[in-house]
């Protein structure tokens, strides 16, 4: 079959079961858009800014476990995608981003809309390619797709010069299932699995700390992790990226850990004697000060990426491979040997944890005059019960509160920018999620400042006419910046007030979208239900208390057992060492 480069691109993607491409046309991708126009196997979602295209693809990928596909033009199209690509790299999200490029004979001449896309995206992709020869095109698309989704997933860029898109060659139906150079690990050494099991059985104060790797490994991995938790009756805490792998309902779940994690999760991490880390990477938001991080524990680390082992924290027993396979190996070994953790010491450990839980670290002083952001999320959480909702967030205080006060019962229901902390992520991500799950409730929990960063996508939302709900916790501040200025910079709120805000109802209406505002705590429940029941998109402006801080908090430079629980807690938040940290 003789096909043009553009037709090969679309056919290869369709054969890989790609259903949707998020993109924005331009000069260097016109042949590909022409090929899209002439077929009906792949749907195209038009965005209003390329960054949003990448975030939509991320939302799509994270809520389905599939590869998100993006198509942008050369030059500014590619450079606008960089933030999204970096976000996907940090959070290990499988993406394939196709970028147009000037024709091969113009590369290097500073041609119109030329950028060194491969050079620019080298450090924000798992891998990237420049296809200079039509004969390499099909194999590169197939290989790029394989690289994006296999091993530790990540974004892949394929740069496509316009002349290659227009050339013609034979279509060969190439499938890539392995590569000579790139060989991701699957199963760990059985020896190490046995060492890990031995350590866990002997533990007196064990804990599981799991992360996004479990979600990436697929729903089967989440089920196995839940089985392991139940079989061992072991406490588990999950990272921001890992929420939902084990249900929030699970009696052994201690809540999220880390800087704004729960008191019980962080205390248990600090005091444990055996830590099983499953698909998480000991990021600085998790560990706090490394010098004091879980000082007396033996650490077992399951990770598909060998570079995660010993990167920040010294590991005693590394298990390199896909969590699903390793959890499966572990569970089988446990059951085969009928080994369990000594009941007496485990009960003692649970008693200690129960004492920490009694601190009720997420309690806050409510008000019947003004909506507390925590309250807004509690009510939202209640009203979402039983609806199998998908939540995305922007970045900042609202994101932490959402992680603390919303419950996730299944994996792939929670999409948030963890590693890069990209304001502007949540709204387009929610559109991507809704594209993948048209019948499910999708809510973007946002702050007003983050929302302003990609609000042009209201136009995309209107065009798609899908029922994404944007739930803005509006405190008129870049809340997390303000909180840090309060704690670390003497309350000098330099440039953190979100001045000149639009009237969000009028803004929504101007796009033909329903706008709502709620200011009275007593109307929260009815407003939220009105929003959820509306058969279409809604932008809801929730006017919340302006100076609320996120607690608990491990101050920068402090240890897990030095948490500040509330504004009344007189624990020092400002240390010389902490000031230099982020």
């Amino acid at each position: 079959m003789r096909l043009s480069g553009s037709e090969i691109i679309i056919k290869t993607l369709a054969d890989l079961n790609v259903e949707v491409i998020f993109g924005y046309p331009g000069g260097a991708v016109l042949p590909i858009y022409d090929a899209i126009f002439k077929q009906n196997r792949i749907r195209h979602v038009l965005v209003r800014h390329e960054q949003a295209a990448v975030h939509m693809a991320e939302g799509y990928a994270r809520s389905t476990g599939k590869v998100g596909v993006i198509l942008v033009t050369s030059g500014p199209g590619a450079t606008n995608a960089v933030t999204g690509l970096t976000d996907a790299l940090m959070d290990s999200i499988p993406l394939l981003c196709l970028t147009g490029q000037v024709p091969t004979h113009l590369i290097g001449t500073d041609a119109f809309q030329e950028a060194d896309t491969v050079g620019i995206t080298a450090s924000c992709t798992k891998h990237n390619y420049l296809v200079k020869d039509i004969e390499d095109l099909e194999s590169t698309i197939a290989e790029g797709f394989y690289v994006a989704r296999s091993g530790r997933p990540g974004p892949v860029v394929i740069d496509l010069p316009k002349d290659v898109q227009n050339s013609v060659t034979n279509f060969k139906s190439i499938k890539v299932k392995s590569m000579a150079s790139y060989k991701p690990a699957k199963k760990a050494k059985l020896n190490n699995v046995k060492l890990a099991i031995d350590a866990i059985v002997k533990a007196k104060k064990p804990i599981i700390y799991s992360g996004g790797g479990v979600i990436n490994s697929g729903t089967k991995a989440s089920r196995l992790l839940t089985d392991l938790v139940d079989y061992l009756n072991i406490p588990i805490t999950q990272t921001l990226m890992g929420l939902g792998a084990v249900s929030a309902n699970n009696k052994n779940f201690l809540g999220m850990l880390g800087m704004h994690g729960t008191y019980e999760a962080n205390m248990a991490m600090h005091d444990c004697d055996v830590m099983l880390c499953v698909g998480a990477r000991f990021d600085d938001r998790i560990t706090g000060n490394l010098k004091y991080f879980s000082p007396n524990s033996k650490k077992i680390h399951i990770d598909i990426d060998p570079s995660s082992i010993n990167k920040n924290v010294k590991i005693d027993i590394p298990l390199i491979g896909d969590c699903y396979y390793i959890l499966d190996m572990m569970l089988k070994e446990f059951k085969l040997a009928k080994s369990k953790i000594d009941k007496k010491s485990l009960n003692k450990w649970w008693n200690t944890i129960n004492k920490w839980q009694k601190k009720d670290c997420l309690s806050f002083s409510d008000s019947d005059k003004i909506i507390k952001p925590q309250k807004a999320l509690q009510v939202l959480n209640n009203e979402l019960k039983g609806r199998d909702a998908f939540i995305t967030t922007e970045v900042g205080q609202h994101q932490m509160w959402a992680a603390q006060y919303l419950d996730f019962y299944k994996p792939n229901r929670w999409m948030t920018s963890g590693g890069l902390g990209t304001m502007g992520y949540g709204f387009p991500a929610a559109i991507g999620v809704q594209v993948a799950h048209p019948k499910k409730p999708v809510i973007c929990v946002a702050g007003e400042a983050s929302f302003l960063m990609n609000m042009q996508e209201l136009s995309s939302l209107r065009q798609l006419n899908i029922p994404v709900k944007i739930f803005i916790l509006n405190n008129e501040y870049m809340g997390m910046v303000r909180q840090w200025q309060e704690f670390f910079h003497g309350g000098r709120y330099a440039e953190s007030y979100t001045d000149s805000l639009p009237d969000f109802i009028a803004l929504a209406n101007s796009f033909g979208i329903k706008g709502m505002r709620v200011t009275d705590p007593n109307e929260l429940k009815s407003s939220i239900n009105e929003m959820l029941d509306h058969d279409g998109p809604v932008l809801m402006d929730v006017c919340v208390a302006k100076m609320e801080n996120v607690f608990p908090m491990i101050p920068a430079g402090a240890a897990h057992n030095e948490m500040k629980l509330s504004d009344k807690d007189d624990k020092e938040t400002q240390t010389a060492e902490g000031l230099a940290l982020l």
């Binding site: 080298a122 798992k126 690289v147 000579a180 150079s181 060998p306 010993n310 990167k311 010294k314």
Partner: protein
């Protein structure tokens, strides 16, 4: 554990455009120091290049460098030669010395001691070629400095394991 050591890595990569940029970019992005780096195609049939890179760091950093190199998609194999037993390394040096009279004669004598070769000569200058370990080359440069050394060019080290073991099967 926190001792800083120098390690020599042999990295077999697909000989494709941009691979060297990826290797070098990884070092700069993660703030690791490169002491020296060389690259050339070594297997035309399989289209493979070999990068030899010398790095310094603590054990944890050296381990991390290996893991990070292995993450680069077109990298086939990474070997920390220091962990594989004994290896030899060599570097090529070209030195230009501009001198007259006694200093010119003395530079030839020093070159002879080091078994350096003269590969270019004019009335007032020599270009010497010398291979050896980095230390040997350093010593040669030091001795040539007072004798009129005007320019140095070095390749950086290449290395190979001693004995019959090969990094890749033929």
């Amino acid at each position: 554990m926190n001792d800083i050591n120098t390690h020599t890595f042999s990295v077999i990569v697909d000989n494709k455009s941009g691979v060297l940029a990826r290797v070098v970019g990884m070092f700069s992005a993660r703030g690791y120091n490169i002491e020296s780096l060389t690259v050339a195609e070594v297997d035309e049939d399989r289209n493979l290049s070999r990068v030899t890179v010398m790095v310094t760091g603590t054990t944890m950093v050296i381990e991390q460098i290996k893991a990070q190199l292995e993450r680069i998609v077109p990298v086939r194999k990474v070997v920390d030669l220091n962990n594989e037993g004994s290896f030899v390394n060599r570097e090529l040096l070209l030195v230009k010395v501009k001198a007259k009279g006694e200093r010119r004669v003395e530079s030839l004598r020093v070159a002879d001691i080091f078994r350096a070769r003269v590969i270019d000569s004019s009335n007032q200058s020599f270009v010497f070629e010398l291979t050896g370990s980095a230390k040997k080359l350093d010593a040669f440069i030091k001795l040539m400095q007072p004798l009129g050394l005007v320019e140095v060019s070095r390749t950086g080290a290449v290395a190979i394991l001693r004995g019959e073991k090969a990094l890749l099967k033929r």
